[in-house]
Subunit: 137 residues, 2 copies
Amino acid sequence: MMRDPLIDLPGYALRRAATATSGELANLLKPLDLRLSEASALMLLGENPGLTSSRIGEVMGIQRANMVPFIARLEAAGLIERDPIDGRTQAILLTESGEAKRQEAHRIVNEYEQSLMDRVPAAHRDHLLPALRALWV
Amino acid sequence: MMRDPLIDLPGYALRRAATATSGELANLLKPLDLRLSEASALMLLGENPGLTSSRIGEVMGIQRANMVPFIARLEAAGLIERDPIDGRTQAILLTESGEAKRQEAHRIVNEYEQSLMDRVPAAHRDHLLPALRALWV
DNA sequence: TATTGTTATACTCTATAACTATA
DNA sequence: TATAGTTATAGAGTATAACAATA
């Protein structure tokens, strides 16, 4: 009854899939009062304590300028603390409550990621991640 | 030298791939003064003249409330016009200049989508779209 | 001179609630 | 009573330019 010229475009499908799944996971994280990007940062810091703000931004693809309110919110929530390295650089560390929050987030995220893969037909499943990596410069 | 626990998560890779590629295409469309979503709408209207605002929103996953400024901007740019169906419903039609813009956008988008697929290793290429469709509810 | 963190600002996309006019 | 379009508003992510303090 109508022809949709968009659904055959991989880039369009990529955007739709990303916004749909991001919204789902964001809702699962809402009870923790964590945004998606914040949960990601906690997980990154869990494996790499003491990263600087700039370095976190590089890894996660967030610009330095945008890291300022980002880190400030995590600090205000008591999840991280800053440990000065020298006069201009600060190591970011999880607080005790940040580590607890990280564990909760980790469980929710991993469970969701598993459910995502379950939704992908088995024949395509192993191809998804490598294909995505090729697009994500 | 650092372990990134995020890059193995398909949902995370999906977001990164989507934002990276969306940004690239958005830049290609900037000379046309078209946003990504606007180019998509023009392409949709090209195949389906006379869709209502609500219907466009349903197909593209944009909420009714957000369609108002969206359609208003396209109208202000002279790319579409509204043709009242009854007292509360209006068909959206491409103007002549909207159709011209649609053709330009179509060329740029299709070229970019092709380049996207070229970036995906051949072994994974045919799996990408079906995998994405399974995630995009 | 280059880098880290910062301020200020703007734009795009998404989300929610509630209103109006009409079917 | 349900629907199409609308208003208002907020939040999240991204982008750019410019600055201060420090290395």
